[in-house]
């Protein structure tokens, strides 16, 4: 039962302004202005993709710089003040300008409407506004580079952030604005999924990427406003000394941390849930198997999103909160691991009796399973009260979150970028180079960050410009690892860039996928589907139909 795309049984539902045959979203209109004023979700997705990748390169550039500084204790290439700026900007750019907006903004925008058979998101103009807000926020955040710098750490803890010099107000305002972009995107996606599904796309026929995006959007809507008000309070504290966070005026410095983590812990699920969604797609398509435990995977996303709101205090076990609070937060932290485990188990079961190609997206997906498992499991160390007392604010934490954010989300993102590259650009990339990039990145990543678990548990605190001599060998190894990661990204960049010029033309459905985005043209026309599709089966129904599996690689 393949998708009834342009054929019998499909409801003819034209609106009289379908784009001419052969035209696609890319060539429908020309010129920069047509891009800047577009309301086409695909074009907005592309602009998000480019912007977030630039942010990632910039964040990565700072990462390489700060790793270089850590090659030796004391001064290697920069002053302490510069080092503090380097890791702050690295963290802030990676979190606020890259990982939070990237997958929803780029891939979510491009594929969400297509995957439900819609012509666009519910509010296309609002979508464009989100992008402009993101750009404005980015401008302010990066403006700090020339306006006095920022050296508060990405967490902006008071009273340091309310008293230090530098462009704190500018950056917090930038993050505040970018936050509204995030809220509006989430709002748009929720309404789109609720209201714009094509005939036959029931909730249980949504691709898992959309369940993940949906859960992410819920978190974006519920958590981001609290970040907004927190940042506003911080701005007022700094500008007018209103005293909310200043102990000298009766305020409370720890209150800021509660506010901050009330957003930023759920935010780590804003970062990982879309990655989870991508992995479901990659594994199902490249192993050509019906996904195992569809409902379990779908609802575990929702569960993670909800439980994720109740655990923020695990960042503050030694910050002076009450013992009772710490105990409860620790307990709840462990509960998040259950829905996450359910996902991993189901993905692995999907590999069982499947048909796996060692394609580039699959290589990244397997690397994801490996790295995210480590990242998630080490989260449990940190959730354990007594153990976290030792590990808090050490490189163990740094390693933990790079394993989940870089090893998890970024690997999923790069894998999915390859997966959908043919659909987005109409070109095939070099498979061999793709696989090599994945393997090199995997090796470099483990060199860089596994080392940091050891560093941290042995006593190396984070945000340290200088360190005890005994840690130098491990730091050096880690720094060399970061160069290997850099090399891997250069390969990715080279591979994708050359594919645009000399890659083979991509067929509509190179991997034999079943979800809707593979049923339309490559690249898709402006209205996504020339004829509104009518869906009669789920997105992963490979096994019911032997012919469907045979139809790949056309």
């Amino acid at each position: 039962m393949s998708v009834a795309v342009p054929g019998a049984g499909t409801e003819k539902h034209e609106h009289g302004h379908g784009s001419p045959p052969g035209s696609n979203y890319w060539n429908a209109e020309k010129g920069l202005w047509s891009w800047l004023t577009t309301v086409d979700h695909k074009r907005i997705g592309i602009m998000y993709l480019i912007s977030t990748l630039i942010a990632f390169s910039l964040g990565g550039f700072f990462a390489l710089l700060l790793r270089l500084e850590l090659l030796t204790p004391r001064k290697t290439i920069m002053s302490p003040a510069m080092y503090n700026q380097a890791f702050t900007l690295h963290g802030a750019i990676m979190v606020f300008l890259f990982i939070i907006p990237s997958i929803p903004g780029a891939l979510g925008n491009f594929f969400l409407p297509i995957m439900i058979g819609a012509k666009d998101v519910a509010f296309p103009k609002l979508n464009l506004l989100s992008l402009y807000l993101y750009w404005t926020g980015a401008l302010f955040t990066l403006g700090s580079l020339v306006a006095g710098g920022l050296e508060t750490g990405w967490t902006f803890y008071v009273p340091y952030s309310s008293t230090t010099s530098g462009a704190v107000i500018m950056v917090t305002f930038g993050v505040f604005v970018a936050g509204f972009s995030s809220i509006l995107t989430g709002l748009n996606f929720i309404v789109t999924i609720h209201k714009l599904r094509a005939p036959g796309v029931s909730w249980y026929r949504l691709p898992l990427f959309l369940w993940a995006t949906y859960s992410t959007s819920v978190v974006q809507i519920l958590a981001t406003p609290v970040l907004a008000i927190t940042l506003l309070l911080l701005i007022f504290e700094r500008a007018f000394h209103i005293g909310i966070f200043d102990p000298a005026l009766g305020g409370d410095a720890v209150l800021f941390q509660h506010f901050f983590w009330f957003y930023s812990h759920p935010a780590v699920y804003i970062m990982i849930l879309p990655g989870f969604g991508l992995i479901s797609e990659l594994i199902a398509v490249h192993a050509k198997r019906k996904i195992f435990g569809y409902k379990a995977i779908a609802f575990s996303s929702v569960a993670i999103a909800l439980i994720g709101f109740l655990v923020w205090g695990h960042h503050m076990f030694v910050a002076g909160q009450s013992e009772m609070a710490a105990t409860i937060f620790s307990f709840l932290t462990f509960l998040v691991a259950i829905p996450t485990g359910v996902k991993l188990f189901n993905w692995i079961s999907t590999l069982w009796r499947s048909s796996i190609t060692y394609s580039t997206p699959m290589v990244y997906a397997i690397a994801f399973l490996f790295l995210f498992a480590i990242g998630g499991l080490t989260g449990l160390f940190l959730g354990m009260l007594a153990v976290d007392v030792h590990l808090h604010d050490t490189y163990f934490v740094v390693a933990h979150f790079h394993y989940v954010m870089m090893g998890g989300t970024v690997f999923a993102f790069v894998g999915a970028l390859h997966h959908w590259w043919p659909k987005i650009t109409g070109r095939m990339f070099n498979e061999k180079l793709g696989r090599i990039s994945g393997i090199v990145m995997f090796i470099g990543f483990n060199m860089t960050f596994f080392t940091q678990f050891i560093l941290g548990s042995r006593g190396m605190p984070r945000r340290y410009y200088n360190y005890l001599d005994q840690f130098q060998p491990l730091h050096q190894f880690s720094t060399v690892g970061s160069w290997v990661i850099g090399l891997a990204f250069l390969i990715v960049l080279y591979n994708l860039a050359t594919s645009l010029k000399s890659g083979a033309k991509a067929p509509d459905n190179p991997w034999g996928g079943m979800s809707l985005e593979w049923q339309t043209e490559t690249p898709p026309p402006t209205e996504n589907f020339r004829v509104t599709p009518k869906v009669t089966h789920g997105p992963y129904d490979y096994s019911n139909d032997p012919n469907a599996t045979g139809a790949s690689d056309s």
């Binding site: 539902h13 609106h15 302004h17 409407p113 058979g117 819609a118 012509k119 666009d120 998101v121 519910a122 509010f123 296309p124 609002l126 809220i183 709002l187 748009n188 929720i190 309404v191 789109t192 609720h194 209201k195 714009l196 599904r197 094509a198 005939p199 036959g200 796309v201 029931s202 909730w203 809507i221 519920l222 958590a223 981001t224 406003p225 609290v226 907004a228 008000i229 927190t230 506003l232 309070l233 007022f236 007018f240 000394h241 209103i242 005293g243 909310i244 200043d246 005026l249 009766g250 305020g251 409370d252 209150l255 506010f259 209205e527 509104t532």
Partner: protein, 227 residues
């Protein structure tokens, strides 16, 4: 593409079906478009509630810490002005609801009239607020470091005014934005753009305005009455 028939989110009601009205390219029916807009507004209101929620949280925390100071500081707010403003806003909520109703019943004249009354109420609210603020500033009843009023028995009254100015200030900003929105739909209503088939913007602004009122209805007793 009408809403999916097997969707758990109610199938579209054929009686409400109103084809022919200018529907954006990516929607199939006016209902779908209208339902989407309404859902969007509701979600936006949720984010607003969370936004204010953070401030209410801060209020309750500091109030429990500095209970005496809060009670004392609260006596320096002008309850009469606060009460007047509460009445003004509640009344404006009523006129807003009537405006939405008139739009639904194709009554252009009344729509514009009710919107105008709402707008005037909002203006009146701001005028009263202006007098309150100047009074506070004159007396040195200011946040944190700027607090220099004399004769307070309890320390940390500045905290009360930090919360007071943050909350009423952000609420006031919402009122100002609301006035802009009301003006906007008033002009559109005057141009006859709304009808019983298309009144989503009026309803959306109306919902927003009700939220602004609602926030004030919590702010008034908390800040002015119980402190």
């Amino acid at each position: 593409m009408s809403a999916a028939t097997d969707s758990p989110i109610g199938p579209s009601d054929p009686k409400k079906h109103s084809p022919g009205w200018s529907i954006a390219h990516h929607f199939d029916t006016a209902d779908q478009q209208f339902d989407s807009a309404r859902m969007g507004i509701w979600l936006f209101l949720v984010t607003e509630i969370l936004f204010f929620g953070g401030l209410f949280c801060a209020f309750f925390i500091f109030r429990s810490w500095y209970y005496e100071a809060f009670v004392e500081a609260n006596h320096h707010l002008d309850k009469v002005m606060g009460a007047v403003n509460t009445m003004v806003l509640i009344f404006s909520s009523l006129t807003m609801a009537l405006a939405v109703r008139s739009a639904q019943t194709n009554d252009k004249k009344k729509t514009v009239l009710f919107l105008l009354v709402t707008l005037l109420c909002a203006g009146a609210f701001l005028v009263v607020k202006y007098f309150e603020y100047t009074h506070k500033i004159h007396d040195g009843l200011l946040p944190g470091k700027w607090f220099h009023a004399q004769g307070f028995k309890h320390a940390n009254a500045g905290m009360f005014f930090a919360v007071y100015f943050m909350m009423t200030g952000i609420h006031g900003l919402h009122v100002v934005i609301g006035m802009g929105l009301i003006l906007w739909i008033m002009i559109r209503a005057n141009n006859g753009e709304f009808s019983q088939r298309y009144y989503a913007p009026v309803e959306g602004v109306g919902l927003y305005w009700h939220l602004v009122d609602l926030v004030w209805i919590y702010l008034f007793p908390l800040l002015y009455l119980v402190g």
